[in-house]
Amino acid sequence: MSGPSFQRGYDALMEQIDAPTAAFFSSCVHCGMCAEACLFFTETGDPKYTPIHKLEPLRKVWKQEYTFWGKLAKSLGISKPLTDQDLTDWETLVYDSCTMCGRCSMVCPVGNDLAYMIRKLREGMAVSGHAPPGLVGATRRAINIGSPMGVKLPALQAQIRSVEADTGLKVPVDVENADYMLLLSSMEIMNFPEFIGAVAKIFDKTGVSWTISSEAFEATNSGIQIGVSDIAAELVQRIVDAAEKLKVKNVISPECGHAYMAIRWEGPNLVGKPFSFKVIHILELLDELRSQGRLKLKDKVDSRLTYHDPCQIGRRGGVMEQPRHLLSELARDFVEMPEAGQMNWCCGAGGGVSSNERADDLRLTAFQRKKSQLDQIKVDGLVSACSNCRIHIEDGLEHYHMDLPVLSLTETLAEHLAD
């Protein structure tokens, strides 16, 4: 059977439900605290954005397939089974109003990991034809072209040439036996190519042996965002093949949130076995270099800075201390936002939301949460480590007439690198 269908979606959900899912649904007491942890609810006041409510289709399948009484009720016709209409009705809840930021998972008193379950629900939504058109398009481009934004190798090569001209350094491509293979997100390639220059500068100064693969340079994984593991696996496999072909020891995940989640934590499980190389986030590598004394800065940033933890890198990825170590070297005046760190509020654009034009208004409304975090501290610059966050935050600041530079941590470090 090819093509999307309700049955495929239903079967996918049946595959996805596991012991944690069963434990989570068994424990939910309808306390509503997850709503107050979700920026889509807090900024709209609309109860339908309550995280556990977003999961209703998955809960229905669990109940009617994987519990004794639920299955009995279904076979006796007492309970209402899941329908295609349910999935249609839930599309905007599962995609437009959720970035899988995981803040709800931190707050639930009975310990439910709701973001974990949203990821599973998307598997059923996507193959039943209920993913947002914008995201479907991005995913098709990722598979067919190699990048969700349609960035092809020539475009990358053009950016590389430009960077080499600016920095006077060579950007190594397809170098075998390099220690590190760098991935790049399309966002960085197209909108923030300075990142490539920054990395080149730093690696040159610190003596890091690295390369980019011309066959697999895309870090973003649309499969994770739309929620189709087979597609996500195909995208990861390209990276695995390239890394093994170049015999690199490590793969670097760049300043992109979901890319890190895709390659570091989901990657080996998608392809079904451990990697033969390590995966490291650019911030982890930079912090390693700092602690080894190899990363030296010539001066500090004087203006008041704060840091926005990208959800998939910080709370869901585990890289939270490293940017702070780096910022302690880099910033003279660093201040944390209220609720920074693992309780940080999402910028509102991750998890495919920014690829979903239909969700633009909602995304900008939700941005008010981030804005109010910033309003509580008076800073001159916001540092982050995800280009998707960066572009969306810039978008949001402009929308709300706030004048605040948004900086990349890697780029800023490179700017202040000692000669």
């Binding site: 944690p20 309808h30 006041g45 409510h53 931190m106 707050v107 869901r316 585990g318 693992q342």
Partner: protein
């Protein structure tokens, strides 16, 4: 049926049935969860899933400061009635005697007049929780028949127990009998409603903490 015959029935066969349904039901529920299984994780761990799981099991009891401010009503009334129920069930001597009968060992209780005061506070908290559920937009969207049923079978033993202690409303054997019957109702519904969270939340928290701990995050 006289009051005493009723009391003897609730203390006898009815309690046996309720115990059996409660214990068997909980075990079935737990196995329904565990036997769903979980795929192994091939990613290289940064931290310990076991340590993370154990941590979250306990630590999730305390909210972070921001959440405490945002959800203060839910958290505070939740704490009050849970602690109240704990004190009433486990620190009131006539109840400790039931556990002693089941486990063979008892423990010291609180003075009964203190438990009495705690009971009144607990009833107030339970009423507040109900009113909140009826009025708050999020809770109105989420709540279904089961939520109200569970509220009723939880509150009924507290109220009937208070009445039995104060010997108000009917003859003492009848009051005690009604109270024990209301507890038996709670027991038989335990495995089949969200009340099971008392047993399953430790598992949910463990999985949450394990998933996070594997990645080096303290959830």
């Amino acid at each position: 049926m006289t009051d005493v015959e009723f009391l003897l029935w609730v203390r006898g066969p009815a309690f046996d049935i309720a115990t059996i349904i409660l214990c068997a039901g909980i075990v079935v529920r737990l196995l329904e969860i565990f036997l769903m299984g979980r795929k192994p994780d091939f990613a290289e761990p940064r931290g310990s899933a076991m340590a993370g799981g154990m941590r979250t099991v306990f630590h999730r009891t305390l909210p972070d400061p921001g959440t405490l401010k945002r959800s203060s009503f839910t958290i505070i009334t939740g704490w009050v009635f849970h602690i109240g129920l704990f004190v009433i069930i486990f620190l009131f001597v006539p109840h400790i005697l039931v556990f002693e009968r089941a486990l063979g060992v008892g423990w010291p209780g609180l003075p009964s007049n203190i438990v009495d005061a705690v009971t009144v506070v607990t009833i107030i908290a339970l009423l507040a929780v109900l009113i909140h559920r009826l009025r708050d937009p999020v809770l109105r969207l989420l709540s279904e028949f089961n939520d109200y049923l569970v509220w009723a079978v939880t509150t009924l033993p507290v109220i009937t127990g208070w009445l039995a202690f104060h010997r108000v409303g009917a003859a003492p054997p009848a009051l005690i009998g009604i109270h024990i019957l209301s507890v038996e109702l709670l027991m038989v519904l335990f495995p089949f409603t969200k009340l099971s969270h008392a047993f399953t939340l430790w598992i949910a928290r463990w999985y949450n903490g394990a998933i996070a701990g594997y990645k080096g995050i303290k959830s």
